[in-house]
């Protein structure tokens, strides 16, 4: 490829944060009219590169060339003027302004945005409505439409499908393709291999802050991308998967119930959910976005109050008015957004040790030696990278997620409520986390696992339930839970024929 044929050329870009090297030598070449995937494990440097490209950070070394001109954007506004616009993971819309005011803020014409929203399947949006009153997926699409209206030469989509229901994701893909047809370029960041291989023309893979390969994306290139992303870790990931193979098939139907949920109602979203989770079992929950799974987990974890129904542990009905009540009963939550559960400025040790001080009688002196022992063994068990242990925010996303789980491993629990623990996490860490779940189950604990990535359910679970419209519409053994079956059930399609 000659230099001139590329619209964006990133050469050996480097970035350090104090002593931590986030990017060593990132290289990226984007051609006009292509959808280019940017992939890499957590901590590989994707987000740092995105933030440099959109002017949030300044880079320390290397060059960025846009249409042959060397650039160093100092703010998102400058990047926009230079033809690069990003749609971030969280919408860049100001909550206390109306949608119309937000459009004026970003200096885009409401008419253009409406046109794009129509393309995305949203008609007649009320420009006078406050952003704070709008549902999250709609905000994301507005954000995307706004980005498209400013007509960028390069559109940067950072995990855009992460919290979108499947039908909306499809529309986003259609619009992305349309964008390509117009001769513009898209940088597409996603952890979902299926999306990438269906949508993207080429893929650049980052590992440890370096570009390790660029590949044409076609059917069958997944393996190559995965091995590029993982590097030496491939072997480790496979052993974790194999370990699961050997224990996963055991049936646990005769084990005692660890958690019973009876006819749980919560607002309009949970409409009578009942199930039993047995000791030593990993129970998967599959659902499309917004089918009540968040409320289900929150109710069991004491984060939210249920309206009626019962949650029972060892046959006793629980009264949960605070997460502390659930934790006392051994029900612990790993929430969807790991940042909700972490102390970014504190050390791994303080993060892992936190629940120990939840009771007033533990406000006194800490048994430092015992605490260190507990924390260290949990850290070792989860293989947490402790190079940046003094501040949690310096850890990669995957390691942060492991710290959330290590907290409960160190403090003890009976039932782990894991809500999408692998969202935005690389394959190696995923396998580690699922391997750990199998180990915990084998040791007699139980796990309730919601994952937005359906193929993972048969990998990690013994049994699965499918939620649709706030009800359980299907229940099946892991061996039957292939992606197609789950997906059909999740759309409410097989409720009758499947359950026998």
């Amino acid at each position: 490829m000659s230099e001139l044929s590329s619209i964006l050329e990133v050469r050996d870009v480097a970035k350090r944060f104090e002593s931590v090297v986030a990017l060593k030598a990132a290289n990226l070449s984007i051609k006009p009219g292509e959808i280019h995937a940017l992939m890499g494990a957590n901590g590989a440097g994707k987000s740092t590169l995105v933030k440099i490209l959109t002017g949030v950070y300044a880079h320390d070394g290397g060059t960025i060339t846009v249409r042959g001109q060397t650039k160093a954007f100092r703010s998102p506004a400058e990047a926009r003027a230079g033809g690069i616009v990003s749609v971030y993971q969280d919408p860049a819309l100001v909550p206390d302004l109306t949608i119309g005011q937000n459009l004026r803020l970003a200096k885009v014409a409401p008419a253009a945005v409406s046109t794009w929203l129509k393309q995305l399947g949203i008609d007649g949006i009320d420009l006078g409505a406050f952003v704070r009153d709008m549902p999250f997926p709609i905000l994301r699409l507005i954000d995307l439409a706004r980005a498209l209206s400013s007509d960028p030469a390069i559109l940067l989509l950072d995990e855009i499908t992460a919290a979108l229901p499947a039908d909306l994701s499809e529309r986003v893909f259609a619009v992305t393709k349309l964008w390509r047809e117009r001769g513009h370029s898209v940088i597409f960041i996603s952890h979902r291999m299926a999306e990438v291989s269906a949508l993207c023309d080429r893929t650049t893979v980052l590992r440890d802050g370096m570009t390790v390969g660029v590949t044409e994306t076609a059917r069958g290139s997944e393996e190559k991308i995965v091995s590029l992303m993982l590097g030496r870790d491939v072997a480790k990931a496979q052993t974790a998967a194999q370990r699961h193979e050997s224990v996963g098939s055991q049936t646990t139907s005769d084990a005692p119930a660890a958690l019973e949920v009876r006819d749980l109602h919560c607002g309009l979203v949970l409409n009578g959910v009942s199930f039993t989770l047995r000791a030593g079992e990993v129970l998967g929950v599959a659902a499309l976005e917004g089918q009540g799974q968040e409320e289900l987990f929150d109710c069991i974890a004491g984060v939210r109050h249920h309206d009626s129904g019962a949650i029972l542990v060892e046959g006793r009905e629980l009264k949960l008015s605070h997460p502390g009540d659930a934790i006392r009963e051994g029900l612990v939550l790993v929430p969807a957004n790991r940042l909700q559960a972490l102390l970014p400025q504190r050390s791994i040790r303080e993060n892992v040790g936190l629940p120990a001080f939840r009771r007033k009688d533990r406000w006194g002196p800490i048994a430092m030696g015992a605490e260190r022992g507990r924390v260290e063994s949990a850290v070792k068990r989860l293989q947490i990278d402790t190079r940046a242990e003094s501040e949690l925010r310096r850890l990669s996303g995957g390691n942060q997620q492991k710290v959330v789980i290590a907290r409960w491993v160190a403090n003890g629990f009976k039932t782990l409520l894991c809500f999408d623990p692998t969202r935005g996490i690389d394959i190696g860490t995923k396998h580690q986390i699922y391997g750990l779940m199998r180990e915990l189950a084998a040791a007699g604990s139980s796990v309730l696992l919601f994952t937005s990535e359906l193929p993972e359910i048969p990998l990690a679970c013994d049994r699965a339930i499918v939620l649709f419209g706030g009800k359980i519409v299907h229940e099946l053994a892991a061996s039957e839970a292939d992606e197609g079956t789950l997906l059909r059930a999740a759309h409410g399609l097989v409720a009758q024929e499947g359950a026998h």
């Binding site: 860049a92 819309l93 100001v94 206390d96 004026r104």
Partner: protein
């Protein structure tokens, strides 16, 4: 602006009330307070009303100054000291001046107020020290500057100048102090609110990161919020000169705290991004009525401060209670 009657509650008015509760609630609160005042003091006359308008004028400007900064997500604990600086600056330069000169000096003082606001804003933005700490400290510094200009209460201004704030227009029931507040707030705030600047102020107050990503220059907008605040403080300092006739270097403390009180009572969220300027300005009149009523009731007017503090505490606690209850539902 009349409070809409309960009969004509079309969806449109309901939306208006939901969005701008202070625009309806605050006039209602003021009317209620006025009614109580007239009941306990049936002789309430135009003279009392005029002294209310004069007494509340500086506080109304302090509240307006604080509102601009708070809406943009900041806080300014130096407003009272800045008003004191402008007050002593006016009283010390105008003492021997003619009416015409005093008007020119007023203009100069407005520029000085914007400049002082700019210094505050620059330090807040440049230092990256939290605004509470910066303005607490600059408030201390401006307090020193006020003392430097005028060691003890004194100075003065031409009678015609004082009459601007102490007179009435057309009828005894229309004090010039009230007209001045309406004009000054309108002249400064409407151009801000109606232009892109207003949008920017509310945007950075509501969500700085989202605003930044939408291409807003957050630091420059924060800076400007303090400049506009400084301008209002300067008007407040001039108002103080008009109504008291002298310069007083220690007048400051009261207006910082009461200004925050007016902002809170006037329905502006201290988290930024929500609320308007009308609510706090009306709240300034309510806060000024309280000690007056206490005097009418023969109660120690020092209770006024207790009530003001209690009012802040109650308003924010009830606001908190409502939010907590709503979250629990």
């Amino acid at each position: 602006m009349d409070a809409p009657t309960a009969v004509a509650f079309t969806p449109k008015t309901r939306r208006f009330v939901m969005r701008y509760p202070a625009l309806v609630g605050m006039p209602a609160l003021l009317i209620a307070f006025m009614a109580v005042t007239v009941i306990i003091h049936p002789d309430y006359g135009s003279f009392d009303f005029q002294s209310l308008a004069m007494g509340a004028m500086p506080l109304a400007f302090a509240a307006a100054a604080q509102t601009v900064v708070v809406v943009a997500g900041g806080i300014d604990l130096s407003i009272g000291s800045v008003m004191a600086v402008m007050n002593v600056l006016a009283a010390s330069t105008m003492e021997e001046a003619t009416f015409g000169q005093s008007l020119l000096l007023s203009l100069a003082i407005l520029v000085a107020g914007a400049l002082v606001g700019a210094i505050n804003g620059f330090i807040v933005v440049f230092s990256r020290v939290p605004d509470v700490v910066v303005t607490l400290t600059t408030g201390f510094v401006w307090g020193g500057v006020a003392l430097l200009i005028l060691e003890k209460p004194g100075g003065g201004a031409p009678d015609d100048f004082l009459a601007l704030g102490q007179g009435t227009l057309f009828t005894d029931w229309l004090p010039t102090a009230l007209i001045l507040v309406i004009i000054a707030v309108a002249v400064i705030w409407i151009p801000v609110k109606r232009t892109r600047l207003g949008l920017l102020l509310y945007a950075i107050g509501s969500d700085r990161i989202a605003a930044f990503r939408s291409g807003v220059n957050v630091e420059r907008t924060r800076f400007v919020s303090y400049v506009v605040g400084g301008l209002f403080s300067a008007v407040g300092g001039l108002g103080l000169t008009m109504t008291t006739g002298i310069g007083s270097p220690l007048a400051g403390v009261y207006y910082t705290l009461s200004g925050v009180a007016a902002v809170v009572i006037g329905g502006v969220s201290l988290a930024g991004g929500r609320g308007g300027i009308v609510g706090p300005v009306i709240a300034a009149y309510v806060l000024t009525l309280i000690p007056t009523d206490l005097i009418f009731l023969n109660i120690d007017p020092n209770f006024g401060q207790v009530i003001q503090g209690t009012l802040i505490v109650f308003v924010v606690m009830i606001g908190g209670l409502v939010a907590v209850l709503r979250a629990r539902k």
